[in-house]
Symmetry: C2
Subunit: 202 residues, 2 copies
């Protein structure tokens, strides 16, 4: 037994790619197997069900994400407000690259899956909630630091962090609908203007 069977990881990356470019319901296991050059039975040797595959895909992508450009964007070395710009830039370049390559803006895998399956599958919904939660925490830390450094007036950092994440998801949604990554570049930077004030004292 290897660290990670080649077959398994081939299934995983193919599924991730197809789920991202199309949707959960629209991609069948047969198609995944064909593209990954794997037999049906082998698939079910590694994954008990399609739902379980989706669950693993989410974990897998969340991992890559956290160790990839999210880690880069939220680099502690960068001044806090620049991290927000970095995040927007990274989203723009990624979406643009995908569009240039395949003609279509795939959007955010997590956002896509969330809207598609969160009314049908509570297990996956919970998983996606926690992915968003973790992303929101990165924004939170960034805002806390910005406030501490005095580059941002005090505000409700927790709520604002979530609002910023929501904004980015919304921008990507709109950009995907227009199939135009430029939407991300134009609207994205406004993430810095979003503010939710602290509950007023007295």
């Amino acid at each position: 037994m290897q660290f990670e069977s080649d077959t398994r990881s081939r299934i995983l990356s193919t599924a991730r790619d197809l789920f991202h470019r199309r949707s959960y319901a629209d991609v069948g296991i047969k198609e995944i197997c064909d593209l990954a050059k794997v037999q049906k039975g082998s698939f079910y040797h590694f994954f008990p069900s399609k739902q379980d595959l989706a669950s693993t895909v989410i974990d897998d992508m969340a991992d890559d994400w956290a160790h990839g450009f999210v880690a880069e964007a939220f680099d502690q070395e960068l001044p806090p407000l620049e991290r927000l710009d970095y995040m927007v830039d990274a989203a723009y370049f990624w979406q643009k690259a995908a569009k240039d390559l395949e003609g279509r803006m795939p959007g955010c895998l997590f956002g896509n899956l969330a809207l598609e399956i969160s009314t049908r599958d509570d297990v996956l919904r919970a998983k996606l909630t926690s992915v968003f939660e973790k992303a929101s925490e990165k924004f939170f830390e960034t805002l806390e630091e910005a406030v501490t450094l005095g580059v941002m007036a005090p505000l409700d950092t927790a709520a604002t962090a979530t609002a910023m994440l929501a904004f980015l998801e919304g921008v990507i949604l709109l950009a995907k609908t227009r199939n135009d990554p430029e939407v991300v570049r134009i609207l994205g930077p406004a993430v810095q203007t979003i503010r939710i004030e602290l509950p007023s004292p007295h």
Copy 2:
């Protein structure tokens, strides 16, 4: 022949409801027919295909929407900034009502469909783009008025309008993922803080 055949409108409202609560791919024509108490053949008498049904559902919902709470929220009588609050309130109450009734937050039908099918069907994607375009125009008019009245400092009204729409869609996406309409109530009002400045004259 009536103004609108009862059968047709029964199919339409059933489909709209199911597509909204679940998804396009997850709802089959048989299920729509069963719930609408209509035979398969009758369905295909009125709609040439499932795609055409979806197209009609989008038009139908966009119409109801434009003449319903969007018309109310963007009422010319209201001060411009209050219209934004009204919009958020309306979204909150609608989502909350749906959740109280069925246990699930359905989110925004347009947003849901956009992420699910816009990489697969350009006809429907174009239709959704125009729905968002129209909504964005309402924000645009509101911002223009706010600037004219002097209650808002001059800014890039067109870009900000789209950004505000994106924000609301993102907030609803996150709320749906958490299955918690309160997210809309808490984050929604921050829509007023979003600003995209005019290109600097220098």
